[in-house]
Amino acid sequence: MGLSPYVPKPVKIVRIKEETPDTKTITIGPKPFDFIPGQFAMVTVYGVGEAPFSICSTPSDNNLQFSIRKMGSVTTAIHEASPGDEIGVRGPYGRGWPLGEMRKRDILLVGGGIGFAPLRPLLLHLLENSNKYGRIAVCYGARSPSLLMYRDEFGEWMERGVELYLTVDVGEGDWKGNVGVVTTILDKPNLNKAETIVCTCGPPVMIKFVLKKLVELGYSEENIYASLESKMRCGIGKCGHCHFGGKHVCVDGPVFRYDEIMELPRGISPF
């Protein structure tokens, strides 16, 4: 990288995959940097703008992947891009999931909709190093079955030992699984609750109710982590957009522990 930390590095789009009707997973490569699961990168569509996205590929992959929902101008431009196009990327930024804490412990991942993106690199990393960690359970919910991301990987995850629980707010088609919000399946995983590390990401309202329910179920507050989102312009704590109550989401987050989340001001805090 050159003089300024704000200048992205041009990388080619390798592949684009339609994940759900409104979300595409783009693969770019070769990856310009190493990262920890849970960290994010700033992705630039040249001439349009820049936005922060969670990296959703495993750290051992030679490429980088981002699952991107069509929302604003940058995401729309990414959806309109095709393989071979050049986009800019800089990172990795922020504090990732606490891998050190997870050693030898059971791990529960709770995701909602597109909020599974930052959990996927963690899950894949845990599976690749499964001898270092305890049991792994995943509770994943979406508004409808078609909005569940990474569906084609579910089988492989389960084969490799993941306890996977799915739920949707509204069933459709041949959906035979659970119907209800993600908190309705949180009691299903059979884990050592007091010792389990929980990582969650999703819309703020989901995080709020998931955190409440987890504490009710007996998970320990000091073991619960959530990844938050915010508008960002720099990713390195200078532009001020993600500054809330003394914390920069881009530097001190996006992964926060339960007690840190409780101290954030209302609005950015899901509570």
Binding site: V48, G49, G72, S73
Partner: protein, 274 residues
């Protein structure tokens, strides 16, 4: 305390006590200068002041209280703005109690870093012909007056508008203080892709000011809120005055004088050529 102030406070107390209005928007004195205040309790009316430093139009605050009955202290220009906004369906006449105060001109603000500290009447007040709001629920007579000291000025054509707009900080003070800028999204921000690239080229700010000027033609009541808020002293009211003159010559319309005459851009006449 001047007698208009005594009358104003008495009236405000009366309106609030009888619950004719939910709140009165007026001016109060503070260390930072005269500023808007929002009186909800009869006990607070002693805050209200009236003097030639009451320059910021309070009409822009009305859109924040659409469901409430509001008493508002209005100068002649402010009353005209209310008239025009009622015609544009932005305000409801029956929700507004207009406390018209006779205005004889306000001071040009002496701000941070001003090199001249002498007080002068604002330029736009010299051109003003409407000293009392055309519609009113109560009239307070006043002879409070800004010292009339003419500011030397040239023709609007003589001004180098490009270099004036080059100074623009795009701080939005002109937009945000204007009674007529009620768009929820301004051309200069919020649009994706951007209508005006505000960070890219100072010339684009010229585009923004042109957009704004065109929208002000035939509507601006020359209250000077934009000009007096502007940190780099761009004489915006002069530009809008010129456009208003053009409008008066071509359409015979002067904004804000009465509730009956419809604004020409809102009227379609059969056989009219575009």
């Amino acid at each position: 305390m001047s007698s208009p102030e005594i009358e104003l406070r008495k009236l405000a107390r009366n309106l609030l006590e009888r619950k004719v209005v939910d709140l009165v928007i007026g001016y109060e004195d503070s260390e930072a200068g005269v500023r808007p205040c929002f009186i909800k309790e009869p006990g607070e009316v002693e805050k209200l002041v009236w003097n030639p430093d009451c320059r910021l139009s309070l009409v822009r605050y009305l859109r924040g209280f659409k469901e409430k009955k509001v008493g508002i202290v209005a100068k002649g220009c402010d009353g005209r703005a209310i008239v025009e906004l009622i015609k544009e369906n932005q305000l409801d006449r029956k929700n507004i109690f207009i406390i018209a105060v006779e205005c004889n001109g306000v001071y040009k603000p002496v701000k941070y870093g001003s090199s001249k500290t002498r007080r002068q009447m604002a330029e736009y007040c010299e051109k003003c012909e409407v000293r009392v709001s055309p519609i009113k629920d109560y009239l307070i007579k006043s002879d409070e007056k800004a010292l009339e000291e003419k500011i030397p000025k040239g023709d609007v054509e003589d001004l180098d508008w490009l270099s004036l707009f080059r100074k623009c900080l795009r701080c939005m003070a002109c937009v945000r203080s204007c009674p007529f800028c009620y768009c929820t999204e301004c051309s200069i921000e919020g649009f994706k892709p951007a209508l005006v690239h505000r960070l890219v080229d100072p010339v684009e700010l010229f585009t923004f000011h042109l957009i704004r000027a065109i929208h002000m033609a035939g509507r601006c009541v020359e209250c000077g809120a934009c000009e007096s808020s502007c940190p780099v002293e761009i004489p915006l009211t002069r530009l809008y005055h010129e456009l208003n003159e053009w409008f008066r010559e071509n359409y015979g319309y002067v904004p804000g004088l009465n509730l009956e005459q419809a604004p020409p851009p809102l009227v379609f006449k059969e056989g009219e050529k575009p």
